[in-house]
């Protein structure tokens, strides 16, 4: 049953979304250290599930995509496809030194430069691997963006970065194909 698109229902959906963000984790070619720190967030010591942050297996159920590791050439198009499956509003966290900047793998033959050459990234988290509290802080920062975007009626006010080499309004090569 679809809710009628009135101001009140939109307000309700955005309120619920900010109270319980669903997260999906995608390892695009990392060493699994960041993934282990994400698992540490779910374990009883931090236990983010009590705040409503749920890790879901499917990107179609998720509001936030956490990308760990530098995308390899083979993973780049798959990562893009995972991102395209997520419903709006969607947010991307590039986790760890490799996800945020490429890290020690930047410039090698089998990788693209960083997550940002594949997706528009909202939050970067440094560290190798980042601590669980930094990961939780990144998700909470995304929620702040979500609330602000809902107040402004979309993401356009933040002037989201385009893919490198693209003019405004131009379609990315994957969208064209």
């Amino acid at each position: 049953m679809a809710l009628p698109d009135t101001g009140m229902s939109r307000h309700l959906v955005n309120w619920a979304r900010a109270k319980s963000p669903w997260v999906t984790v995608y390892n695009s070619g990392g060493c699994n250290a960041c993934d282990i720190e994400i698992i540490a967030c779910l374990m009883p010591r931090f236990d983010v599930e009590r705040f409503g942050i749920l890790v879901k297996g499917s990107p179609r159920h998720a509001d936030i995509l956490i990308v760990t590791g530098i995308p390899t050439l083979k993973q780049a198009s798959r990562l893009r496809r995972v991102w395209e499956q997520m419903p709006e509003p969607k947010y991307v966290i590039a986790l760890g030194a490799c996800g945020a900047s490429g890290g020690v793998f930047r410039g090698l033959y089998q990788v693209v430069d960083c997550v940002e050459s594949v997706l528009p990234v909202d939050v970067y988290v440094a560290g190798c691997p980042p601590r669980p509290d930094e990961i939780i802080n990144a998700v909470v920062t995304c929620l702040g963006l979500l609330v602000e975007d809902a107040a402004h009626g979309g993401k356009e006010w933040r002037q989201k970065k385009l893919l490198p080499g693209m003019a405004p309004g131009e379609k990315s090569p994957t969208e064209v194909s």
Binding site: L73, K74, A76, S77, R80, G107, Y109, Q110, V112, D113, S117, V118, P164, G165, S172, P173, T174, S177
Partner: protein, 159 residues
């Protein structure tokens, strides 16, 4: 019972294929040539009991490509068959008929170093991206990444 092999036995059996030297405690290297490789593999399998292939490693030492076939048996002695290939024409015979796992290693070496193994049943890409440009072999010493190429629709700057 596992029959131990000694350096003397290996030297006696393998000296017709090239020089034999002990590089480490349980590693013995035989410097052979591409034409004698199949006979050397057959001898180490049948006579010396080295029937398992650990890996094929490749070294680009600037002048030649060095192929190293590491064979091991139940006696835990590793026999390494080393051979050199010229850089301008890196072609050798496949050993996938003698050692079935060698076919996969040879596909990897063909991807990364551009060494052609004649007689291989399917020398296709195994590691690199589907749209990787031909005649570019990333583990060669003289390879430089070419910036600004598209891979799967994504531009790679490589800076």
């Amino acid at each position: 019972m596992i029959r131990p092999v000694t350096l003397d036995t290996i030297t006696e059996k393998m000296k017709e294929f090239g020089s034999v030297e002990q590089v480490r405690k349980n590693r013995i290297r035989v410097k052979t040539v591409p034409d004698k490789l199949h006979d050397a593999i057959t001898t180490s399998q049948a006579v010396l009991g080295c029937d398992r292939l650990i890996t094929i490693s490749t070294v680009d030492n600037g002048e030649t490509f060095e192929l190293l076939y590491h064979l091991i048996g139940p006696h835990r002695i590793i026999i390494t068959l080393a051979l050199n290939l010229p850089r301008d024409e890196p072609v050798t015979m496949t050993s996938s008929a003698l050692l079935p796992p060698a076919g996969i290693y040879e596909r990897q070496i063909h991807d990364l170093f551009g060494i052609t193994f004649t007689g291989h049943p399917g020398l296709k890409k195994i590691l690199l991206n589907e749209d990787w440009p031909d005649n570019e072999y990333p583990l060669r010493k003289d390879w430089k990444p070419s910036p600004g190429e598209f891979y799967g629709g994504i531009k790679v700057e490589r800076v």
